[in-house]
Each structure stands twice: as structure tokens, then as C-alpha cells.
């Protein structure tokens, strides 16, 4: 069961930070998700992410990494776990226990997400700019000109060609669809950006361009980012820290270069050697 929590979260890491004194933006404890009663997709996972950092989650298909992301996006309810967000309005409140409306507010204002499959994140037959405008509308914006401007600005920030801003995503290439998703995700300047295999399935050259945009946006906005990928190259390029998942559990976590160059866990060593 999800426990309701107003009690203050406790740090998990053995070596608590001493230089970084601000609390993590995001703290998740004891996350459990089962499917069909006995399949444990996510098994007692703890996550901390500090303001402005990029956290990678790697693992093979079925490791539970995408489920974690869906849970963080409040798309599904976990079987157990607490989820705290260090923003004044939500301080000390377990996001998993908020009602639907409150969760929707969090998803609208505080979280942006880019899915591997653009069909999950976009309305494919509406205009691209409309996909972004919708988010602002949900946030209460009611001036048409403001919506146009904001959509234009967000699309420009994600390096989308503005002469195509009113084309529906269904007529765009995969790379451009990801840019629309990204523009939609950052339009309201969220605290947390979730990326689910954002470049998987793209051509290698397009992938590089999208990664470059992600890197630049992350640097310019300082948005805390959690990126899920099975591609260690993508993780190395973007993530400060990385968590390695297998069978729903975190088997190793650390600095990205340390985990990739000096993995401690047997499985991580296998994974790294298989990829490099």
C-alpha cells in the first residue's frame, strides 16, 4: 500500500553530501510496482536527484527503468513507495497520495516528459504548435497571441524549424517529432524533465543533433533531468550520475564515468563490456 506521508524524508546514501547542502529536488523511497500480482517490475528502488543534475537510468529491456519513469510522471500508481518534491507547495507531501487533480497540476507545472514513442506524448493530427499551446491552456493561459508566442519560443528553444510549426506531427520526421515533444515538455519551465529513450530509433546523425539540443537546453535551463536509456553512449554524453537497473532493482549507482569505466557490480561489468 502507498503510505501517506507528511513525515520528512530521510537521506538514503551512506555518504551524505557535505558540499551540496540543499536537499534533493526529488526523493523517492521504497518504490515497488507489481503487475499481475507476482511480476515485480520495480523492486524497492530509491532515487534522489539534486537541482540541476542529470541522472541516468540504464538497463536492458524489462529491467524496470521505463516503469520507474512512468511512476515518476504519476501515470501509474505504485504498490508502495513515497515520492517527495522539494517545491514549497508540495513540501513534505507524498505525491503518490495526492488526488487526481493535484497530480495533474504537478504533471502540468512541474514535470515535462519526452517519450521514445511520440504517439504517447503528442497529438499527432493537431498542429505542432497546438501541442505546445495545449499545455499552456491547461495551465490557464487564455490569450491567443501569448499561446502563439510561447509555442514559437519553446519550439525555437528545441531547434525546431519554425516554418513548420503548424504542421501536424504525423507529417514530421522522427527527429522533428522528438523536438516537438521536447518543446512541449519545457514550455512551462518544469522543475523535472523526464526523458524515456529520447533518441532511440532515430538515425545516428539525427540522434546526435537531438542529443546536442538536450545538452544545451539542460545547461541553459538547469532543469533537473532523469534520462532512461539502454544506450550507454547517450547516458555518457548527458548524465552526471547513473543508476544501473536489473530485474527491477538498482544493482549499482555512481558517477557516470565511474560506473562505465570502473563498474563494481558483476552485472554492470558485463553490461559495460558488452556495449563498449
Amino acid at each position: 500500500m502507498v503510505t501517506s506521508g507528511r513525515d520528512a524524508p530521510r537521506p538514503v546514501s551512506a555518504h551524505a553530501p557535505v558540499i551540496v547542502t540543499s536537499p534533493p529536488l526529488l526523493q523517492v523511497r521504497g518504490l515497488v510496482k507489481r503487475y499481475g500480482g507476482h511480476v515485480v517490475a520495480v523492486d524497492r528502488v530509491d532515487i534522489e536527484a539534486y537541482a540541476g543534475e542529470v541522472l541516468g537510468i540504464v538497463g536492458e529491456s524489462g529491467s524496470g527503468k521505463s516503469t520507474v519513469l512512468r511512476l515518476l510522471n504519476l501515470e501509474e500508481r505504485p504498490d508502495a513507495g513515497e515520492y517527495f518534491f522539494d517545491v514549497p507547495a508540495l513540501a513534505g507531501r507524498n505525491l503518490f497520495t495526492l488526488d487526481r487533480m493535484a497530480q495533474r497540476r504537478v504533471r502540468t507545472f512541474d514535470i515535462g516528459i519526452v517519450y521514445q514513442n511520440p504517439h504517447l506524448g503528442l497529438r499527432m493530427r493537431n498542429t505542432s504548435s497546438g501541442n505546445i499551446a495545449e499545455r499552456l491552456i491547461v495551465a490557464g493561459e487564455r490569450a491567443y497571441r501569448t499561446l502563439r508566442l510561447a509555442a514559437r519560443e519553446a519550439l525555437a528553444a528545441s531547434e525546431f524549424p519554425l516554418d513548420r510549426m503548424d504542421d501536424p506531427p504525423v507529417r514530421l520526421s522522427g527527429g522533428m517529432q522528438q523536438r516537438v515533444q521536447l518543446a512541449k515538455a519545457i514550455a512551462l519551465k518544469p522543475k523535472l524533465l523526464l526523458l524515456d529513450e529520447p533518441t532511440t530509433g532515430l538515425d545516428v546523425s539525427v540522434q546526435a543533433l537531438v542529443l546536442d539540443t538536450l545538452k544545451r537546453l539542460q545547461r541553459e535551463t538547469g532543469v533537473t533531468t532523469i534520462i532512461v536509456s539502454h544506450d550507454l553512449g547517450v547516458i555518457r554524453m548527458l548524465a552526471d550520475r547513473v543508476m544501473v537497473m536489473r530485474y527491477g532493482r538498482v544493482v549499482e549507482q555512481g558517477l557516470t564515468d565511474q560506473v562505465l569505466e570502473d563498474p563494481q557490480d558483476a552485472y554492470t561489468q558485463q553490461l559495460v563490456h558488452a556495449k563498449l
Binding site: N126, T127, G130, E134, R142, A143
Partner: protein, 319 residues
């Protein structure tokens, strides 16, 4: 005029006002609920009637549940009292309920209408029943009806706004004509039934009660008197009614009332006011002074929602 006791006597072979008492009681309870939650679609058990679904059975059931022998009934079909459908409904209601009928909007107590609201301002003692083919304003943006209900529950109307946005992007104007979605009492978005945009402002802070009922879809909803009804509009792209400036009714010489356009054989068009009951009254040209002592049938033309210069009666409501 007959009494209910006479009209409801068992030897007539059917219940008073056609529907059985349980059906009427159910409808009245649904109507009360609809009034209590303005704009919320209340499901009801739509009954079989001696007319086909789609020909006003929703409106007719509400009318039959409310009508009494003291009522004066007017039936409108797209502005007209004299279409076959309007005449049939009017005759059926009068025969089943022993009620009086009229074509004068200000004399009626109960007005059942398809696709129009009269030009004359309705008053507190009047009830307007609108026939609704499709009660769901979200239908065009969300095909899954259970998802649409969830959206209503959460007041999640982003998609409707998005469709307005897209119309502005694609056509530089809102292309919605009839059934323009409205926010009722700052909470539920409703379809005002396929009335023209011209009639939408008439629902805002109106003195009369409006009931909207869809027989095929089995839903009814209400706008109680003096309730805010706002068409969805962007702050910088105001809602506009149909632009008929310059059109003049060939029968009355009036302007700034909702007109039908009648194409002529030689090209071009002439115009006539769509509200036939209103035209009738204007053509009788009864001066106000004589009206005071005259019979109701010769009543003066009442105040209209739009004056002859096209100004709406609530100052500043239409930008």
C-alpha cells in the same frame, strides 16, 4: 379549459400528458438535479413516444413532464411555428395535456424549440425547452465517451480550447457556427444545442429557465435563471455573433434580428427574420398604448435581446 382530473380520467385510454406517472416523476427529478448542477448532463430513461427519435423526443419528454392545463405552449422549429414538425408537436402536446397554444413568445409559459431562441426577451415565468441532437460538447475532440465524462469531472477542457486555437491557426477565425460550446456557471462546458451564435448570448444571465434534452442520447441539462453562460473565447479573440449587418427583413423592414437568407432566381438574395412569431407581431403593428387593454393575442412587441442598432441588451457582454 379542462381540469387535470378530467384530463387524467382513466377512460381516455392513456395517461395525462401521454407519459405515465412514473416516467414523469423520473423526468422531474432529473430536471431538478440538472437545475441544481448547471450545465451538467443528467442521464435519464428516455421513453418511446409516438414520434421517431431525432424529431424532438428529448424536448417533448421534458415538455410533457412539465406541462399542465394552465400552460400556454409555443413550439418553434428553426424559428418557425408553422413547419410540419412544429405543428405536429404543438397539436400533440395540446391534445395530451389540454394546454392552450400560441405563436407569441411573450404569451407562452412553456416554449419547446429546435435550434432557436426567440428574439423577444423571455421572462422569469417562462421555461424554454431546447431539443438537443448531441449533448456532448467534447464529442468532436474526444470520441471515447467515458474519457469525456472524466474530462467533465476534472473540468479538463484543454482539448476544446485547442480546437479553437487550431481553427484560428488554420482559418484565422473560429469556424464554429451552431452548438458553440459555453462554460456554464464557471464549471461545466455545455453544448447550447444547435442554436446560431446569435442566440448564445441570450442564455447568459437570462430571466427564464432553459432546459436542454436529448432523447436519443438520454441526457438532459439546464441553465437556471440568472446563471453565467460564457462562450469559450480567447482573451484577445472575442466571440462574435453572425455578421448580418446591412441585412434587412423584406417583410418588416427591420434590421439586427437573426435572418434567413433567401436566394433569388436572378442571383442575389433577400432576407427575412427567422423568428416567425416575432414577424407576425411586428406586422400587426399594434401600438403600445392600445396593447394595455387588449387581449393577449394582440400583445405589443416586447423588448428584444438585440435592439434595432444591434446592441445586445447586457451592456458590454459582447465585445
Amino acid at each position: 379549459m379542462s381540469t387535470v382530473a378530467e384530463l387524467a380520467s382513466s377512460n381516455r385510454g392513456y395517461s395525462y400528458a401521454f407519459l405515465d406517472e412514473f416516467a414523469k416523476r423520473e423526468l422531474r427529478r432529473r430536471i431538478l438535479k440538472a437545475i441544481a448542477i448547471p450545465g451538467y448532463q443528467v442521464p435519464y430513461a428516455s421513453r418511446e413516444l409516438p414520434i421517431a427519435r431525432g424529431w424532438g423526443t428529448g424536448g417533448l419528454q421534458v415538455t410533457l413532464a412539465l406541462v399542465g392545463p394552465d400552460d400556454v405552449v409555443k413550439v418553434i422549429d428553426q424559428g418557425a411555428d408553422d413547419s410540419v414538425n412544429a405543428a405536429n408537436l404543438r397539436r400533440f402536446i395540446a391534445r395530451m395535456a389540454g394546454a392552450d397554444t400560441t405563436t407569441d413568445a411573450s404569451r407562452a409559459t412553456l416554449i419547446q424549440s429546435r435550434h432557436r431562441i426567440p428574439e423577444e426577451r423571455l421572462q422569469e415565468h417562462q421555461t424554454l425547452v431546447l431539443q438537443v441532437p448531441d449533448p456532448e460538447p467534447l464529442r468532436s475532440v474526444e470520441h471515447d465517451i467515458s474519457k469525456a465524462r472524466l474530462m467533465h469531472a476534472e473540468a479538463d477542457y484543454g482539448l476544446l480550447w485547442l480546437s479553437l486555437y487550431e481553427q484560428l491557426v488554420r482559418y484565422r477565425r473560429v469556424t464554429l457556427g451552431a452548438s458553440y460550446p459555453c462554460l456554464v456557471h464557471h464549471r461545466y462546458v455545455m453544448s447550447p444545442s444547435p442554436i446560431p451564435r446569435w442566440d448564445v448570448p441570450k442564455l447568459h444571465q437570462s430571466a427564464h429557465l432553459t432546459l436542454l434534452s436529448a432523447g436519443r442520447e438520454k441526457r438532459l441539462y439546464a441553465v437556471p435563471p440568472y446563471t453565467d453562460v460564457r462562450p469559450l473565447e480567447f482573451a484577445d479573440v472575442p466571440f462574435r455573433v453572425e455578421d448580418q449587418r446591412g441585412w434587412m427583413c423584406y417583410r418588416t423592414g427591420l434590421q439586427n434580428k437573426f435572418m434567413n437568407e433567401l436566394p433569388q432566381t436572378g442571383g442575389g438574395a433577400i432576407y427575412e427574420i427567422s423568428d416567425t412569431g416575432f414577424v407576425e407581431k411586428v406586422l400587426r403593428k399594434v401600438p403600445d398604448r392600445e396593447a394595455a387593454g387588449s387581449t393577449p393575442a394582440q400583445a405589443a412587441v416586447g423588448a428584444t435581446y438585440y435592439d434595432d442598432e444591434g446592441r445586445f441588451y447586457i451592456d458590454g457582454y459582447l465585445r
